[in-house]
């Protein structure tokens, strides 16, 4: 009985430490600083990516390894949909062809491995930004990075992050989508979109996005989602005005 008691306390402490790290991540400015070169007479492109009334449920994944840290199951992050707005999280939105110089973020972007999940699941960073990869779990993870698609030949790097190695740094030096996967824990994956222009956003919990300071003109807005692929729409931006773009997702019949 007393043994169990101590196990519980141990478990709670581990959780507390993990949570502390998680909170620290957020406080220490994990969010990529806003580097979008705001143009004084620019316009804003905002909108939403959304499902109709029906939307997919989050897939439940059974975990078979390191359950003390990873838990017995996790929910897939492929389709994270707001019950209220039906908006889809984690869609990368870019405005193609708008002229603007990319500026690397001064503070590094980061992705953490926390309770056998990459946090955040999807992010977009300007080209040239350093990426810190954190291991908050105290177990072995490996960070297997692919560029444009999960295929062994697309491997960019594959680095071990043993339990004692809390942080590694990498340069993502090509514009496009990097895919991160842990081979030790098959369910863990994340995406980092590297941008060679300043006009992009990632949709939030409500499926909403907003890109400010876009020079006036007519552009193609592209949405990218890990499972749905790409969709383009045309948008006209006027100085000082807001242009709405809605990306609808429909049943594939």
């Amino acid at each position: 009985m007393s043994k169990k008691h101590w196990l519980n306390i141990g478990g709670l402490s581990i959780c507390a430490v993990a949570t502390a790290f998680f909170v620290l991540d957020i406080v220490s400015g994990n969010d990529v600083p806003d580097v979008q070169a705001a143009i004084a007479d620019g316009g804003t492109v905002s909108g939403v990516v959304k499902f109709p009334k029906e939307y997919p449920e989050r897939e439940k994944i059974t975990i078979t390894k390191d359950q003390a840290i990873c838990g017995a199951f996790q929910y897939s992050e492929t389709f994270v949909v707001s019950e209220e707005t039906k908006g889809l999280k984690n869609v990368v939105i870019t405005i193609k062809g708008a002229k603007g110089a990319v500026k690397a973020a001064e503070t590094p972007a980061s992705v953490s491995q926390t309770k056998c999940q990459y946090v955040p699941h999807v992010q977009a960073v300007p080209l040239g930004t350093k990426l810190q990869i954190l291991n908050n779990d105290g177990i072995l993870h490996n960070v297997h990075a692919y560029f444009s698609g999960l295929d062994p030949k697309n491997t960019v790097f594959n680095k071990a992050q043993p339990k004692f190695l809390k942080k590694i740094s990498e340069n993502l030096d090509k514009a496009g989508i990097y895919y991160f996967k842990c081979d030790v824990h098959d369910h863990m994956n994340a995406y980092v979109a590297v941008m060679d222009h300043p006009y992009y956003a990632v949709s939030d919990e409500n499926g909403a996005f907003s890109i400010a300071g876009v020079p006036p003109g007519t552009y193609t807005v592209e949405a990218w989602h890990e499972a749905l692929g790409q969709l383009s729409k045309e948008v006209t931006v006027k100085a000082g005005q807001k242009s709405e773009v809605v990306f609808d997702i429909l049943p594939n019949e």
Binding site: N142, K153, A160, D183, A227, I249
Partner: protein, 335 residues
């Protein structure tokens, strides 16, 4: 809906028994045991993916006889940068110090035994039986699956007799690197009689190892839940589809003299090109492979009528897995 409770219990019991059966061997004091208890393994958690002695994961090869198949220099290179040796490998690069790497290589090269090749070949038993003993002796299951045993590092051999000729096996086993330069398969320097026995044994592997473990369908359901796609991936590996169509069905495996470009096709478009019914029907026929040059030897690889060997669930799961590569036809789409 099927009731998986009883089979589940059976599987549980079966697994418990297998685990204990595996622990029968006393590893204490062996080089494998020393490595398992070494600071390197403790610190870097090699057992997350590799089995050492009787402990560890199933992602990478079983390391117990690694000293027999990899020379010291190879291990040095491998541990320094696995991607250099095998681009795309799941083995990550560890930042070992030179001292740690040399120590690890020391442990690994010591993990070996004396093969019983001569003894086995002189036994008075059928050639297939000799091959079977050699297969165990060389620890082929460290990398290859047969039925429920082994690892998914090299191709699954459960159905090998259906998809390769005996002559091909001989050529391959004699010197894998001569047939496919840069291959990950080591050269075991097997004498001719041994190669013949192994090839004869491999020819007999036509799925019966699966039949022997009757719980296969239940076990996959039991562990993975009803996730068709994930079960389909296991089917893809178990039937050896990946040895020709590539890991994750990407294709690009060479089939000499096959039209039009000597390359096996990837299967990522199956979900777009076939309905489930068409796919199942097509898989029940042998796929004929066209030769590029009729005067040269026929292409060594062909696709057998797997559809007649898989049950309905396996076929449907396989289709679900291949379809998962074709996002265009997913349940949802952008407007």
């Amino acid at each position: 809906m099927k009731n998986y409770f009883l089979p589940g219990i059976c599987v549980g019991l079966f697994l418990t028994v297998s685990v204990f059966a595996g622990e029968d061997k006393d590893w204490s004091g062996t080089p494998q045991d020393k490595f398992l208890k070494s600071e390197i393994v403790q610190l870097y958690q090699c057992t997350s993916c590799h089995t050492i002695a009787n402990r560890g994961g199933t992602v990478g090869p079983i390391l117990n006889l690694v000293g027999n198949r990899r020379p010291k220099e190879w291990l040095q290179r491998w541990l320094a940068d696995p991607q250099e040796v095998k681009p795309g490998t799941k083995m990550p690069k560890f930042d070992f110090t030179d001292v740690q790497r040399t120590a690890a290589v020391g442990y690994l090269t010591n993990m070996k035994k004396t093969f019983r090749t001569k003894e086995i070949l002189s036994e008075n038993i059928p050639v297939v039986e000799k091959g079977k003993e050699l297969f165990e002796d060389f620890d082929c299951k460290a990398c290859h699956r047969v039925g429920e045993e082994g690892r998914f590092v090299g191709p699954d051999l459960t159905w090998i007799g259906n998809r390769k000729t005996e002559d091909w096996e001989k050529t391959w086993l004699h010197d894998p690197d001569a047939f496919k330069p840069g291959t990950f398969m080591p050269n075991f320097h097997i004498p001719d009689k041994g190669v013949e026995a192994l090839a004869a044994f491999l020819q007999t592997q036509r799925g019966q190892a699966n039949d022997a473990s009757q719980q296969w369908e239940f076990r996959t359901n039991f562990f993975l839940g009803n996730v068709d796609k994930e079960r389909g991936e296991l089917v893809f590996k178990r039937f050896g589809c990946w040895s020709c169509h590539g890991e994750s069905a990407v294709g690009r495996v060479r089939n000499p003299n096959m039209a039009p470009d000597e390359m096996m096709p990837g299967l990522k478009q199956v979900g777009n090109d076939y309905t489930q019914e068409q796919f199942v029907a097509r898989l029940k026929k042998v796929w004929k492979v066209k030769a590029l040059d009729a005067t040269k030897p026929a292409p060594p690889f062909f696709c057998p009528d797997y559809g007649n060997h898989m049950d309905e669930t396996e076929l449907n799961d396989l289709y679900a897995y291949l379809k998962s590569f074709a996002p265009k036809k997913s349940k949802w789409k952008f407007k």
